[in-house]
Amino acid sequence: MEAVSKLDVEAVRADFPILRRMIGDKPLAYLDSAATSQRPVQVTEAMRRFTEHSNANISRSVHTLGAEATEAYEGARAKVADFIGARSADEVVFTKNSTEAINLVAYAFQNASVKPGADPRFVLRPGDEVVVTEMEHHANLIPWQQLCERTGAKLRWIGITDVGRLDLEQVDEVINEHTKVVSFVHVANLLGTVNPTSQIVARAREVGALVGLDSSQAVPHIPVDVTELGVDFIAFTGHKMLGPTGIGALWAKAELLDAMPPFQTGGSMIETVSMERTTFAKAPAKFEAGTPPIAEAVGLAAAVDYLDKLGMENVRAHEKELAGYMLRRLETVDGLTVIGPRVPIGRGATVSFDLADVHPHDVGQVLDADGIAVRVGHHCAKPTCVRFGVTATTRASGYVYTTTDEIDRLVAALEKVRKVFA
């Protein structure tokens, strides 16, 4: 039997004051959680409490506030590690966001490639290959593109089928004995596709390549267990999972973090320093140069607590129902074409569409007049747009607080768009 959503959406909504906001004389319908999610009072409150009660820099102070701040920051790390099934908290590196987490890995390759004696798994030479997919967010495309440009390695990608799935028939050819690393999107931000990982991970293993995931749109929406996934690294960000902006995370196997050269250098990431040379601290400190976002880590921990309480299986079930409802209702709108999977299987509650060739900016503007917030544009996934022959799409995305009533309002407002631009 299919899991039925056990989320009490109205009770969830009560925790999000912003959802009571009016846009002009219309209540807000926030359908842009794939860009950034809203934050429950529990997150805001945890950050406020930390700021008013325990604010201090971490790690070096012996005073009470310093100890409390360190404990809060490291406690957040442990909580995040536990949330994604990491073996140890030391495998979680806090970053600014997913983009920085992926850059951290790409720069490990770049730095290793110019460093004598570096771990050969991270050394790229002409003839080596890096694999991504055609449905990447730019965050998991451009760092690898740049890395290839600088090392002479070749960037290759797995294509997308017409229905918005990865073309898995290409996997064995694109991932081959030249491949050093495969980094692919877990849940696609424009198409909403939830990618099957096992075949790609198995193929990467077979050819001895490292393999990682951009899980920015996965960790907030589905249960993610890094051990079960069997990958080497994943990147995700706090502000898409009910947490604050300014904090994200890289999870990587401890053994790999040890082998990776640091990305940024400076304060907090050292073991010993002289004027001539420096030895580095162990991970995760090695990758966290400078004062980190401490209050944000506290906020992220509160967000993890919140999601844990809801239960990620319940979150997934709620969004599966929502995705089904969105697809059913949107397809009743004349002239609307969904870009991405049209069945609620292997996809999330993020739906991109074209409406009778009306430019998404115009669609978004008319929807805003009704209090409905959607994302319009290329969603930082220009190659995906090109693949489907559009310059931009309108994207509605739901989360734990999204109701079917909000989807009905969206559908009604889309009819209005058609009228204005008919």
């Binding site: 430019h359 900016h361 503007q365 220009k382 310059t391 931009a392 631009f421």
Partner: protein
């Protein structure tokens, strides 16, 4: 928000029936402008004859605001002197950057006054200015390509 204020009849009309669209020869300057936030694009050519803007031709993809703005611009400055075209460009740009405070002069801007409301929407000002930026850039290129004082 008042939708009618943004999407005036005049704007929708220019959007649905753009004037002067299509790329034509001859031309001395061509410019390609992109709005990276939404992927809107315009390629615009300017043909200068003596001190006159003899033809503006363009091809664009974009929202109603950016397409209507290019069409309105064509009507307004095609065939006028370079000096007058630049003055109108400056006037329209100032109106768009006025954050809803500017008052459009109908005598001078004609159909372009319909864009007055757009200046209240910071996310859309760039759309409205894309074609005009392309015109200014193409004109600079045309002047660079033509020998100084080369009027015949």
């Amino acid at each position: 928000m008042n939708l009618d204020e943004l999407y005036q009849e005049v704007i929708l009309d220019h959007y649905k029936r753009p004037r002067g669209a299509g790329l034509r020869d001859p031309y001395e300057g061509e410019s390609h402008q992109v709005n990276p936030t939404c992927g809107d694009e315009i390629t615009l050519r300017v043909h200068v004859d003596g001190d006159k803007v003899a033809d503006i031709s363009y091809e664009n993809v974009g929202c109603s605001i950016s397409k209507a703005s290019a069409s309105v611009m064509y009507e307004l400055i095609n065939g006028v002197s370079v000096e007058e075209a630049l003055a109108k460009t400056a006037e329209f740009t100032a109106l768009m950057n006025s954050k809803g405070q500017g008052k459009a002069d109908e005598e001078s801007l004609e159909d372009a006054i319909a864009f007055e409301g757009v200046s209240k929407y910071p996310m859309r000002v760039k759309c409205a200015l894309l074609g005009w930026m392309a015109f200014k850039d193409a004109l600079v290129r045309a002047e660079a390509a033509t020998p100084a004082g080369g009027n015949d």
